[in-house]
């Protein structure tokens, strides 16, 4: 028994070392390179994966060392990660805040330590960021609402599968609601929270369909929300009655739109452009050039037609 325990204990300890060394610790870096610390929301969304890939590529091109950490939806973890970056004395910080208000004090701490902070994709309320680089989310919400208004003939009941804690989502829904409000016969009947996650979106949409059997359209604030809603709508057999619109243009969402499913349109963002632009803005700032406080990155609407045209 004792032998077996000892063996197991050593096996576990060896795996600790292997995990620690194997999971992405950066190569012994060129100490002279400026270091950028990036505290991002999550590693699990494809959006962030694309953004990070572009960041890494651009950082390489600009001669920066990029260090990555992910909050995975935990504000305290992100707070602590940022504090560690501050203690390391990084040359610049990129933050995609897990919640738009909770990172304000620690961003102020970074600025007080003389570290310029840039927010990417998600803004921090009233925070002292040098520059915020993100998709034009308000515009993205507007173009979806205009699409729905056209498809529904200016009349119908709409629900939003929402994630109101995040500022960029607030912008999307603000743009969306702004346009919907211009149509007296379009009403938003309910906003349900999905936290931007598919399984949750599926569940809340099932409840939504029970509460509003006469629903005409659903706006999912990101593609995971829209795809979760799609699964619920298909399970209820309502795919010919309800139009879903989403946001992000992930490959899965594009496939669904291409195949003519109930998900009809998406606002696409260009996460790679956000990632690359963020590094370019930092490069400018580190050279001592002026950078604007907000750098909007373009968005576009995709539909079955536009995707078909793209392929030709």
């Amino acid at each position: 028994m004792r032998k077996r325990l000892l063996l197991a204990a050593s096996a576990v300890l060896v795996s600790v070392v292997f995990t620690a060394c194997g999971s992405g610790s950066p190569a012994p870096g060129d100490a002279a390179k400026p270091v950028i610390g990036a505290a991002l929301l999550t590693q699990t969304h494809i959006f962030y994966q694309d953004m990070v890939a572009a960041m890494q590529q651009e950082a390489e091109a600009q001669g920066f060392q990029l260090r990555l950490q992910y909050a995975e939806f935990d504000s305290r973890r992100q707070h602590d990660q940022i504090e560690t970056f501050i203690a390391q004395g990084v040359d610049a910080l990129i933050v995609a805040p897990n919640d738009s208000s909770g990172m304000v004090p620690v961003i102020a701490e970074a600025r007080a330590a003389g570290i310029p902070v840039f927010t990417a994709d998600i803004a921090a309320h009233d925070a002292d960021a040098v520059s915020h680089i993100a998709s034009d989310n308000v515009q993205g919400g507007r173009i979806l609402a205009e699409y729905l208004a056209k498809e529904l003939g200016g009349k119908g009941k709409i629900a939003i599968v929402d994630h109101p804690i995040v500022a960029s989502v607030q912008d999307r829904t603000r743009g969306f609601v702004e346009v919907i409000d211009q149509y007296p016969d379009l009403t938003i009947v309910q906003r349900v929270p999905s936290e931007g996650q598919r399984d949750k979106a599926l569940r809340v949409t099932q409840d939504l369909l029970q509460a509003h059997p006469d629903l005409d359209a659903i706006f999912g604030i990101n593609d995971d929300s829209a795809l979760g809603a799609l699964a619920a709508v298909e399970a209820a057999g309502l795919q010919d009655k309800i139009i879903i619109v989403g946001f992000d243009g992930t490959p899965e969402a594009r496939d669904a739109i291409r195949q003519g499913k109930a998900l009809k349109a998406d606002t696409v963002q260009f996460p790679d452009k956000i990632g690359a632009t963020t590094i370019q803005v930092i490069a400018k700032q580190l050279k001592g050039e002026e950078v604007p406080p907000i750098v909007p990155v373009e968005v576009a609407l995709i539909t079955q037609e536009s995707l078909a045209a793209e392929q030709q």
Partner: protein
């Protein structure tokens, strides 16, 4: 013959050998890897203070959890309660307005009362209705999380006046964070309470053998109720600290905190089957985990790798504990 309190303290001391070794090895390893990456300075006073500061909130909760686990119980609701208490302390400030200082203190009071009340509810269900702690606190975990979300519509309570962040962010003399001071006070209170009072002896006796404790006239129901109320009170303190640190009362924080806190207690050598444990053990267990998390961030290991590593460390700690029992 040593008193039961002193005995458990001594047993606690035996636990620290391997843990302290692990701690020193960790710190040296991160310093060396950091240097290789052109990034020295992990083994420094500032970083250790940072680690202590980052452990303080978990630590305050872990002291309460140690008592609960020693009685043979468990509290799964702390992660939800820490968020709810933070939300309450922030709401008081938001609704109260001027004078800010008064409403901040009122908010602290409300959070502490809510925390203690939640502990009392758990304790009453467990002792008067004989429902297993796992079930009672699982139910509370869900309800309290929902309550926090309901009260705030799922959004963080903000913006709050700058003074609100004092407790979470102020550093005495620019080096000692207030949160660390609170943590130290809670640790000392916990150690005295568990190892040097009749109450602590009763807690250890109940966890050791509830039937024997009953026969020797220990008021089991009352002791357990106090233990859960104490745990709730400490979670209230942690909630205030966390919301103040983040500068907003968010209903979403603290998810899976119960696991992190239980992990620290278990790594620190407290037995999940009750009757055995020490506050200092919990403290060292917590610091081992915190140094690991900060160090992995320091050398650039991403979050997923950190999660895997934490699980392996829990496993290793329990295996070592078993070995010690056999020795």
């Amino acid at each position: 013959m040593l008193s039961p309190g002193a005995q458990s303290l001594r047993r606690g001391l035996l636990t620290y050998g391997p843990l302290l070794t692990a701690l020193v090895v960790e710190i040296i390893a991160f310093e060396l890897i950091g240097r290789r990456q052109g990034n020295p300075g992990f083994a420094s006073f500032n970083i250790m203070m940072l680690v202590l500061n980052q452990s303080a909130i978990y630590g305050v909760m872990a002291v309460g959890m140690t008592f609960i686990i020693i009685t043979g119980g468990i509290d799964l609701s702390v992660g939800s309660l820490v968020a709810l208490c933070g939300v309450l302390s922030a709401l008081a400030v938001k609704w109260g307005g001027d004078p800010v200082a008064l409403w901040i203190v009122v908010g602290w009071g409300i959070a502490l009362i809510a925390g203690t009340a939640s502990g009392a509810i758990a304790g009453l269900f467990i002792t008067r209705l004989a429902i297993p702690p796992f079930i009672v606190t699982l139910a509370l975990m869900s309800s309290l999380r929902g309550l926090g979300n309901l009260m705030t519509d799922g959004k963080p309570v903000s913006p709050l006046p700058d003074a609100y962040a004092w407790l979470g962010r102020y550093q005495l003399g620019g080096t000692i964070p207030v949160t660390v001071l609170i943590f130290v006070v809670v640790l000392v209170v916990g150690i005295v309470l568990l190892h040097y009072t009749r109450f602590g002896r009763n807690v250890l006796a109940i966890g050791g053998n509830e039937e024997v404790a009953r026969l020797s006239g220990i008021p089991i129901a009352r002791v357990k109720l106090w233990v859960y109320m104490f745990g709730g009170f400490l979670t209230g303190i942690a909630g205030i600290m966390l919301a103040s640190k983040l500068g907003s009362g968010s209903p979403k924080v603290g998810v899976a905190d119960e696991l992190a806190v239980i992990a620290a207690v278990v790594i620190g050598g407290t037995s999940l089957s009750g009757g055995r444990g020490s506050i200092l053990g919990t403290f060292v267990g917590l610091i081992v985990v915190s140094v690991l998390n900060s160090g992995l961030t320091w050398i650039g290991v991403e979050t997923f790798g950190q999660q895997v590593t934490l699980g392996l460390v829990i496993l290793a700690a329990v295996l070592l504990d078993r070995l010690k029992e056999l020795a």
